[in-house]
């Protein structure tokens, strides 16, 4: 689906990236732990998170994340918006909770960027 469709499904507000809404996305990763995002998220995925600090954008950039969707109605602080603009990463916000956000996208065809963690990632 396109980012614009995801925006409709989630009734989301766009803070950064109006011009990139036509990008195609297929996968996503949901987490409030940037450590886990760094360990498991894959490129070109959506990042669904309740964290709003600028490091979220930094982390997304490192991993070539397609777009960040903030959940639970979070409004990002200015420095986060600014960094997202600088690094050209779309930043959206939805009122749905993380579970609902993930579920709604999944029901419409978006899948996890990985299904489960591998054996080598176990312990």
């Amino acid at each position: 689906m396109t980012l614009s469709e995801a925006k409709e499904i989630l009734d989301a507000t766009v803070f950064v990236g109006h011009e990139k809404l036509e990008m195609e996305v297929k996968t996503a990763f949901s987490a409030d732990l940037m450590s886990d995002v760094l360990a498991f998220a894959k490129e070109n995925s959506l990042l669904l998170t309740g964290l709003t600090n600028p490091q979220v954008v930094r982390t997304a950039d490192m991993l070539d994340i397609a777009a960040i969707i903030l959940v639970r109605g979070k409004t990002p602080p200015d420095e986060t918006v600014q960094l997202a603009r600088e690094l050209n990463i779309p930043l959206l916000s939805t009122k749905y909770i993380l579970f609902e956000t993930s579920g709604r996208l999944h029901a419409r065809g978006i899948v996890g960027c990985i299904e489960k963690v591998g054996v080598d990632e176990g312990a």
Binding site: L33, D36, A39, L51, N53, Q55, T59, M62
Partner: protein, 356 residues
């Protein structure tokens, strides 16, 4: 390229204690000093002053394969001299190795071509006209051997072959040697300069040295300071991509660097990250002064963390850092001394085997 080379020479000369006044108008001399004085004559000088310079160390440490050109043009014995003419013309080269089944079987050059032209033998094959007895260098030979060979034979280039299977792997020219040495010297110089500056603990700076094929990058990380976290890595990522590393390799390097930086920020009083890269691999080192890690085995376990709450509220310090660095690395060494600090070194191999 020329500007860069001259600047490097100048800096090197300054390091050797020459004044910049003396440098003016001594281009020729400087070039000579760095090419030929280096390897050849210094063998004798060693016994005289017993002092081994960085350059001498490097001529022995560097291998032919470290500095050779790998992007080479070859012909096969079945090619005609006419075809050879076109190849030499298009690639603007004076000669090329002749290769059959990846093995070097001879060399052929512009002088062979001229002979054939004057005798009307342009339909002859390369195999008939090539020189079969070829002086070669082995990839694993120290550069010092190569220098001796250049002096001995007076050739402009040598084919480089793999010792075991005799496969052609590159060509070494004098300019490859000079460039290779300068590059390493410059990296050594900057490392030294960095160590020197590093005494000033409050000074945050970036330090990048790069050219087309390799680079060195280091920066300081302050403990407990999240504000600029990742900024330098953003730069690192751009450089790696400019150098043409494949995206998966870049990802692994940036993730490892970011995790290492986060560790320095969260747990230490401060430290530095340094990254060097060339064709084959990216080496990343993170060094900090701080409490150190009492039990490395425990720290390497996923989910084990001693991070304070404020860090965890930012989404970090979940005990994924070191395991994630290990996941990104091909090799990882970690040393830590309680009360002193931690040193991590990782290597990521470039799966393409070539940075381009």
């Amino acid at each position: 390229m020329r500007e860069g080379l001259l600047a490097a020479l100048k800096r090197l000369a300054l390091m050797r204690g020459l004044s910049s006044e003396r440098l003016k108008g001594e281009k020729q001399l400087r070039l000579r000093t760095l090419t030929f004085e280096l390897p050849y004559k210094q063998d004798n000088q060693v016994t005289q002053d017993k002092k081994i310079t960085k350059t001498q160390e490097l001529v022995y440490k560097l291998k032919v394969k470290d500095v050779m050109t790998t992007d080479i043009v070859t012909v096969s014995p079945g090619n005609t001299m006419n075809e050879l003419k076109e190849i030499l013309r298009i690639r603007r080269i004076a000669g090329t190795p002749v290769v059959e089944n990846k093995r070097l079987v001879g060399v052929i050059g512009i002088d062979d071509l001229i002979r054939c032209l004057s005798e009307g033998e342009m339909d002859a094959t390369v195999g008939e006209k090539m020189t079969r007895k070829v002086e070669v260098l082995y990839g694993d030979e120290p550069l010092a051997h190569a220098v001796n060979k250049f002096n001995q034979y007076g050739f402009g280039r040598f084919p480089v072959i793999e010792r075991k299977r005799g496969r052609l792997i590159g060509i070494l020219t004098k300019s490859d040697m000079v460039t290779g040495l300068l590059k390493r010297l410059e990296i050594a110089y900057h490392t030294e300069e960095f160590r020197h500056n590093n005494n000033n603990e409050n000074h945050v700076f970036n330090n990048i040295v790069m050219d087309k094929t390799s680079f060195h990058f280091q920066y300081r990380v302050n403990g407990q300071d999240f504000k600029v976290a990742g900024e330098s890595i953003y730069k690192l990522k751009q450089i790696l991509s400019q150098l043409g590393f494949p995206p998966p390799i870049i990802r692994r390097a940036t993730i490892a660097a970011y995790e290492a930086e986060m560790n320095i920020i969260i747990y230490s009083y401060g430290g530095c990250i340094s990254v060097s890269a060339d064709y084959d691999h990216i080496t990343l080192e993170a060094r900090d002064t701080g409490p150190g890690i009492a039990n490395i085995e425990q720290a390497m376990r996923q989910g084990f963390s001693t991070a304070p709450t404020w860090v965890q509220e930012l989404g970090f310090g979940a005990g994924m850092g070191l395991p994630n660095i290990r996941k990104c690395a091909d090799t990882m060494d970690i040393e830590s001394e309680v009360g002193k600090g931690t040193h991590i070194k990782i290597v990521i191999k470039n799966t393409n085997g070539n940075g381009k």
